[in-house]
């Protein structure tokens, strides 16, 4: 692999835009816009993978799988789940103001941490290079934002979007951490996430039928 052939500027720009789409996906109140933000993120990931693929050809496969699973299937399932219902997200645990502050802090914290301590995560020469450092920093930030969304949102569908962000974070890190991953492994990892999203939305559909809401706080039959 010849890292000199990478379009560093392009990758940096794409990476930073990616973080912005994560924030949008977490903070948008209308689920529709949230899903659109997620879709944008998926497309950015595909673009990023393609730009990395110029030096690591295995990533073309990864980009193709990511396009099908993340940019087509997942948003389709999500749109289907909110079709015909009020798509205003239920009030989250943490309001908009404090949430933005927390998200900003998370972003800065993780970005700095991952950027400076990258040697801990990936003890390989490759990951020491600037582009891959940025990639890892972005990946961990997206991961943290996803986890934040899953933990603080009441709306089950929003929690699923958070879960998708979480997975995107890990998948992005594969570019730097596991460049030699086989196609079957990548395919397995990517397919699994789509199936998870499909099943979760299917069960959430059942929850909406039976409980009349997707508010996870109303799921309180089972205590202790």
């Amino acid at each position: 692999m010849n890292p000199a052939g990478l379009h560093t500027d392009l990758i940096e720009t794409l990476s930073l835009t990616l973080v912005i789409t994560s924030v949008a996906a977490v903070e948008m109140r209308r689920l529709k816009f949230s899903i659109i933000a997620y879709l944008c993120q998926a497309l950015l990931i595909v673009a990023l993978l393609l730009s990395f693929a110029s030096v690591n050809h295995a990533l073309y496969w990864w980009a193709a799988t990511a396009f099908v699973t993340k940019a087509i299937l997942t948003p389709w399932f999500l749109f289907r789940a909110i079709r015909g219902v009020d798509d205003h997200e239920l009030k989250p645990v943490i309001g908009f103001g404090p949430s933005v502050v927390i998200v900003a802090l998370l972003m800065m914290g993780f970005f700095r941490l991952a950027h400076s301590k990258v040697a801990l995560l990936a003890p390989s020469g490759l990951a020491q290079m600037d582009v891959f450092r940025t990639n890892l920093a972005v990946a961990s930030t997206v991961f943290a934002l996803g986890l934040y969304a899953v933990l603080t949102r009441r709306d089950a569908i929003k929690a699923v979007i958070g879960l998708c962000l979480l997975e995107n974070g890990v998948h992005l890190s594969l570019v730097s951490l596991a460049p030699g991953l086989s196609e079957t492994a990548l395919f397995g990892v990517a397919t699994e996430v789509v199936v998870t999203v499909f099943l979760l939305l299917y069960v959430i559909g059942g929850v909406r039928q039976v409980f009349g809401t997707t508010d996870t706080f109303r799921l309180r039959e089972l205590r202790w």
């Binding site: 801990l120 990936a122 003890p123 879960l163 990892v189 039959e221």
Partner: protein
Amino acid sequence: MSAEPLTETSIVPAAVFLLPVLAGAILISAARMSRVLQQWISVLTMVLVSGLGAWMVYRVLGNVVLTTWKSELRVDALSALMVVIIGPVGLLATLYSARYLDQHVSQGPAARRTSTFYGLLMWFLGTMLWGCVTNNVIMLYVAIEATTLTSGLLVAFYWDRRALEAGYKYLMLLTIGITFALFGCVLLYAGAAGTNKLGGESALLISNIRRVAQFIPGRTAAITIAFLLIGFGTKAGIAPFHPWLPDAHAEAPTPISVLLSGVMIKMSVYALARTVSIFYPTWTQVTIFLVALGTFTMLLGIVLALQQNDLKRLLAYSSVSQMGYILAGIGLGTYLGCYGGLYHLLNHALYKSLLFMCVGAVMYATGARRISELGGLRNQMPVTSACYFLGAFALAGFPPLNGFWSKLTIYLALARAGLWWAAGIAILTSILTMVVVVRAGVRVFWGARPPNSPAHLEVKEVPAQMFVPMTILAGLCVLLGIYPQVPYPLLDRAAGILATLGR
């Protein structure tokens, strides 16, 4: 371990998980097949799988390691042990499910979905078997997440308020948890690849990572262990990641509860042990941490079980507690600890499956599962009653039943490692377990019948298809208690693989 094992290419490791996957595909696609035929196909598949498992054990005891597809699949003693637990328990649960399902699907929204049930059941078992035979660290993650996906709809099978809530929590929490494990697996791969000591061999194969683990920098190893522990620990029901477990295990149909508690959580502990144990020699601090986590889990689980009125939730919390024993044993890293942990894994699979089947039988006969609504069943259900008490005493570690020997091994291992506090907590937990399960049994089977209880006017013993699996399991509990040396050859080899700290 004696000499280095011989490696032999074989198709059996692939067959053992492809068989149930294929059967599952047939069952799901042929929805109009009669229910009896579905049941027969499932039972037959599991008979074949158990047979293949037995053959694997036979080969492994001959000091052979079976591999398929350029070592993508690899069966050593540890994998063979898991396969030989999953196969027979899966078979008994499938047998048991026939009558149980007949009763429950004849009414309610779950009716006419038996093909989905058996299809998913086969896939669930198939993915678990896959996880046990794979040697690829990323595929290990894929297989474990696949077990969540295949069992998710089974947990929510009844599609009512409680089942849906349990199903949602199950899928959501486990997917989040297992994503951490993916990150851990990726770091493991990156760490092994970064050592540059593999000489061109794939860093994806666990057997290769094992060889170079000592060269992975300590702090990278610590982060990797943390991620793996959160990920696989969530799936294994280790406290504080256990809250999904009682919901899912209690609300799922009983044959699924049997598999969730009996084998699925064991399979995650297997994944944890497989990956984390390679760091014991270089990072010995982790063993103390795992033992501490194990003791915390066992105590918390049993304390929470103390206040349960629902029989299935009680057993589920007791499973959390028992996972603590297994983790404490395996986490110790010594030969004796690993032997005790694996032995307990085997025993717990037997008696927890038995206990869930007994509670399922009580539910089948009376329609109730709260302890306060039940009483005096010993005369009407003598077989169930006897099986329950055998299982309960085995669970509590009462000699001469099987649970006693594995618990004793774990106490001895903890004491020999100088961790007296851990051994003390383990013994205390054992006493509390006795109180919890025997008290529940006495109330349900011997206690006075509650006056205005809705159920049991005409309670009868459950049909043979349900009590035969129960008596087989009860018999095994007694047999392994009287002859604890029977599983020794296999457990000895399996423990030798995990015990990277030496004898």
